[in-house]
């Protein structure tokens, strides 16, 4: 049986934890609002970009000669995975779901005999993956988007990816991130970035809402004219599209992180409340029991006289 002093100490420590978690919840809620607006504002742009690419690729025709970013290197031997996680913890299953998905992907690819490389964005994912796959990590970046996520961050990642792609270090690149659905729900998505995957042929993940948009199909219409020329447009559009898709993943991930943290901190606050109630009850019972015991001692002492 814990003494009254122990109980008092525990109650006060749980109370201060609760203060911290509820403050974190408030902070996450206000950050979430901004991040969510940013993420949702970014979606139409990324979709239009995708639609334009679909138009371009359809006019190139099947088997057409395009830049390497579009057609790939002709091999799918080396895969580069880009898991996007947060720099800070205390956000529920946010990071672990990304890590779990990354691990599953690595195992599936290795089972097929492919080479896998990792480009970790975010401290938490890097720390966990380094334990198991330290030899696979070719690069990692932390403190992305601090103090504020900007397009320049996406450009930086894009440039690093392109440099490695040009050097022939990988053939296929996919990014793994949490798509923001709502404050309490995030969905892990793995769109392929290099070579560019068209929504129609792509996996369910890339088809998403981009696929629906493409349904009012530019393919059925007359072919596009190009100004200046297809090659020049593609040479500019493809790297730009890459940056836009990365930026979108970063935005979605940032919004998801705040959502996950808010939910996690909300339930932590509630748990702390329950715990305080239990402990207070136990404290009062113990106190009462002690008073009763003392009374009995006094009474029986008096009776004995």
């Amino acid at each position: 049986m814990p003494s009254l002093k122990d109980l008092r100490n525990r109650i006060s420590s749980v109370k201060s934890t609760q203060k911290i978690t509820s403050a974190m919840k408030m902070v996450a809620a206000s950050k979430l609002k901004r991040a969510q607006e940013q993420a949702e504002a970014g979606r139409p742009y990324a979709e239009r970009m995708n639609r334009m690419l679909v138009g371009l690729s359809s006019s190139l025709g099947p088997g057409g000669q395009g830049p390497k970013l579009m057609t790939g290197t002709g091999s799918t031997q080396t895969h580069l995975l880009v898991p996007i996680t947060s720099d800070r913890g205390l956000c529920g299953g946010f990071n672990s779901s990304i890590v779990r998905e990354t691990r599953r992907r690595i195992q599936a690819l290795q089972a097929e005999g492919k080479t896998v490389k990792l480009f970790c964005v975010g401290r938490k994912g890097r720390d966990v993956l380094r334990r198991e796959y330290s030899s696979l990590i070719v690069e990692s970046m932390t403190d992305i988007g601090r103090p504020r996520l900007s397009f320049a961050d996406a450009n930086e990642i894009r440039d690093k990816l392109l440099a490695r792609y040009e050097a022939g270090e990988f053939d296929v690149c996919s990014v793994i991130f949490n798509r923001f659905v709502s404050a309490i729900s995030q969905k892990v998505e793995i769109p392929q970035l290099i070579p560019v995957q068209m929504p129609e042929t792509g996996s369910a993940a890339t088809a998403g809402d981009g696929g629906k948009q493409a349904a009012d199909d530019p393919r059925k219409r007359a072919p596009y004219e190009f100004e200046p020329s297809e090659e020049e447009i593609l040479a500019e559009l493809l790297p730009r599209n890459l940056a836009v898709q990365i930026f979108r993943a970063l935005l979605e991930s940032a919004a998801s992180e705040q959502g996950a943290r808010m939910t996690a901190m909300d339930s932590a606050t509630r748990n702390a409340g329950d715990m305080i109630n239990d402990l207070t009850l136990q404290y009062n019972r113990t106190r009462q029991a002690m008073i009763t015991k003392e009374l009995i001692e006094i009474i029986s002492g008096a009776e004995a006289l």
Partner: protein, 119 residues
């Protein structure tokens, strides 16, 4: 930003082009310059400065994906002049080829802003 309009004039890489409804499908790169949106000719409803990007034209819509978009009314002549002189200084100090190219691009955008204000 999205709205119905009668005609849009876009600064394409190979020269300005106007888009009316029913225009043939086209994709073009956009150089730094001003997009004129006409809700009813000959009145210009908006003038928007863009720092380059891409334009996709279909018979029923014209989409411009811009790298940076500012309403011309929000541009500030003094700030733009300051930007141009700052960038000119940077250009003199740029050491590597890549740095020089980046500054030159920024300078081009700033000069286009100046032109947008003058017109």
């Amino acid at each position: 930003m999205a709205e119905d309009s009668e005609m849009v004039v876009v600064p394409g890489a190979d020269g300005n082009f106007g888009v009316l409804a029913g225009h043939a499908p086209m994709i073009s790169t956009v150089r730094p310059g001003v997009i004129d949106v006409y809700s009813r000719r000959p009145q210009v409803a908006h003038r928007v400065f863009v720092a380059g990007g891409f334009a996709e034209v279909t018979p029923d819509r014209c989409t411009v994906l811009a790298e940076e978009a500012i309403a011309v009314g929000d541009l500030n002549a003094a700030a733009v002049d300051q930007e141009i002189s700052d960038l000119a200084d940077d250009l003199a100090e740029a050491k590597t080829e890549a740095e020089r190219a980046a500054v030159e691009r920024a300078l081009e955008v700033a000069r286009a802003k100046r032109l947008a204000l003058a017109s």
